[in-house]
Symmetry: C2
Subunit: 197 residues, 2 copies
């Protein structure tokens, strides 16, 4: 339970056209260390109650997933790997690649993971900032699978429940934890319906 998060979303979240939720003050642009570290602790506690306590690494995608995933890695005491969206010059040679449609930027975003940071037998916990359509998380899960690693769970800071992501991820057959669930957004009236996950 992370009541402070739900209160922040209710107080500061801005609804934008296209079912977008602007939470730049504490998730996507500006971060508060204490709230972020509490997200990591909350994921650890929630996954423990679901039987997920043996994790070898946390996996996320750049950019906005990095901070909550890092906090989760701190809570579990394991490394973090973040998939790159722009393959840097420092990532030559063979890489794992999967493509995900991006709602906030439009178009398709590739995700790259180097095979030397994720390998067979690794128990990977997937953490991201948002669960919307589930397509980005699906692409990350595909990378984990193709690396021969095992997905143990999916954790998101905010789930937009009306966008179908949870059903999309059903076939992964792992526990899904959302710290906050947004059930409705109405840009015209600026309405935002949020509850604890």
């Amino acid at each position: 339970m992370l009541t402070a998060l739900v209160e922040r979303i209710r107080r500061e979240g801005r609804v934008l056209p296209g079912d977008l939720l602007k939470v730049d003050g504490f998730l996507n642009h500006r971060l508060e260390p204490e709230l972020t570290m509490r997200m990591g602790e909350a994921f650890r506690e929630r996954f423990a109650t679901l039987g997920v306590d043996a994790v070898d690494l946390v996996v996320t995608a750049e950019v906005s997933g990095i901070a909550p995933a890092f906090a989760t890695a701190v809570a579990f005491g394991v490394p973090l790997v973040y998939a790159r969206k722009n393959r840097p010059a420092t990532m030559p040679g063979a890489v794992l690649r999967a493509d995900a449609p991006s709602r906030t930027k439009g178009g398709t975003t590739p995700l790259f993971i180097a095979p030397d940071v994720l390998g067979p037998g690794d128990r990977a916990l997937l953490i991201d900032d948002f669960l919307a359509t589930g397509l980005t998380i699906g692409a990350l899960a595909e990378l984990i699978h193709r690396a021969g690693a095992r997905l143990t769970g999916v954790g998101v800071v905010i789930e937009k429940s009306f966008q179908g992501g949870r059903a999309e991820l059903d076939s992964l057959d792992v526990p899904i934890v959302a710290l906050a669930i947004v059930d409705a957004l109405d840009a015209t009236r600026g309405l935002l319906d949020v509850r604890e996950g």
Copy 2:
């Protein structure tokens, strides 16, 4: 002093053509929470000895700056703001923008900060993963200046001293801290000359 960092660079750093240093195992792709948190502590200690202990927020640029800057924000107990390189749909309205040439990706990279997360009077500590030519950090310093905020110092995890960044940033007139300094890279022979900063 962060001897463990220098040892990791010496052991795992790979020299690539174009004076690039690949440190994907602990800085740009995979992160170890303990080493990363120690970077934040090291910055806090080093800046304290230089008289920089009053900081209102830490500023960095996505992507690879986020983790060390977050650890620094934890150490100082202040928020973190990361400049965006791809302006997301959730950042409408007026923004501050500066452009920086990118060595690792080629071309020019814009940096965006929303005026509501950085304002007049804020004492900002700038943290990034690398100091090479200094142009990215210079662009971030320009954003801080244009927001009316005050730059208190610049901290980088790795300085490549032979690329002139420190001279480029001389006009900022603030303390510059590098946790590790790489004095020479030779891709042909795979040589890497690194020392504590």
